[in-house]
Symmetry: C2
Subunit: 254 residues, 2 copies
Amino acid sequence: MTGKLFVIGLGPGSPDQVTPQAHNAVTEARFFFGYKPYVDRLELRPDQQRIASDNREELDRAKAALEMAAAGETVAVVSGGDPGVFAMAAAVCEAVEAGPESWRAVDLEIVPGITAMLAVAARIGAPLGHDFCAISLSDNLKPWEVVERRLKAAAEAGFVMAFYNPISKARPWQLGRAFECLREVLPPETLVVFGRAAGRPDERIAIASLGEADPAQADMATCVIIGSTETRAVPRGDLPPLVYTPRSLAPASQ
Amino acid sequence: MTGKLFVIGLGPGSPDQVTPQAHNAVTEARFFFGYKPYVDRLELRPDQQRIASDNREELDRAKAALEMAAAGETVAVVSGGDPGVFAMAAAVCEAVEAGPESWRAVDLEIVPGITAMLAVAARIGAPLGHDFCAISLSDNLKPWEVVERRLKAAAEAGFVMAFYNPISKARPWQLGRAFECLREVLPPETLVVFGRAAGRPDERIAIASLGEADPAQADMATCVIIGSTETRAVPRGDLPPLVYTPRSLAPASQ
């Protein structure tokens, strides 16, 4: 008898941004796997059980969850944001592909969530209003040369960029190096948004120019958005400026 | 006296994917602007009023909403998906920038939503599990040459791609031309996902290879995802295959 595995996106952190679908999945599951800060967000019943783990053990966590689901349990793997964006859904798919045949029969439901770049963008205006890309700056799973090649290709082609995993204790220099790469392609006045913990009480949203952007403004919980040459800031007196990328491309930049 | 303007993302269409934040904003607003199919999703009270419009009048709609909010009303502009992704948030920012000073003082709250590519990805596995980009195939607001340049840059750099606005009666050839461009860069076995109306009763998710992908499989409500050379499909017997992009890059493709 096979059970069920939910892979749930809890959104950026505010309970107001958790979908009813995610809420219902949490109600239905009995065992919860995930990185501790995400699992700790859940309000569980006495018959539900947390199995928290380190953030870097994604594949092991996926395997443990699949094993339990294949044995007939109703299990959830939880992610912050959206589970399909640099998070647990790909790890679960990898584990299914590499695992025993019985894991392929598990009823797998992936529940999307508001991913960080959307939450940050909404708090500042509409920086992702034109073509954009999402890049993980972590070089744990791909060589740093690939990251640099993608940064340059995206900047040259006029994409706005959202950086996930911009910086951590183990990866202290990557964001600064990414800024250096981009300064070779984009003008110094290009807008950079540092969006931390969007929608949470400890939210901190800051704007800088690429020329003066300081990697120290980011931490693990920050999504960094790099504008294109089209992205602009609209001052609003006492209110924070609106940062947005127009839907149409100005003739000069075509 | 200034009022308030919400720009609300209603998600892909399932009520289960509307966030409490969006729900609360709908409860608070009195006047609702938007493309008719999105405004028609709302269940309004007798004291709330719909002002539906054509999908191509985005800037006019944004101006009308700002004018009403600046006059003291509580107004909402609604989008499907996320309002910051090829939708109304950028149009509202454009209108603020071009409009009278009083519009800059409007209390503007942008409410993010589950955007189409996240909903489609969740239904099929995790195709957006590695670096990806989102491209609008509409050449109403940018020249087609720019679209082609971006497609090639993204494919060559190894990004997965999500296409918004892939096809319409007024833009019948663009998706086919995009496939042709990509066939010059990517192998014919590259996976393509056609994701229509994810999470709705009329959902239709189909997989094809780039070599055989037929633009007729897409309509206006479809988000098309183009895999990278890393993206793979895991067969699951009677269940639909899982399409995902591994988190790590295989050494051969570096």
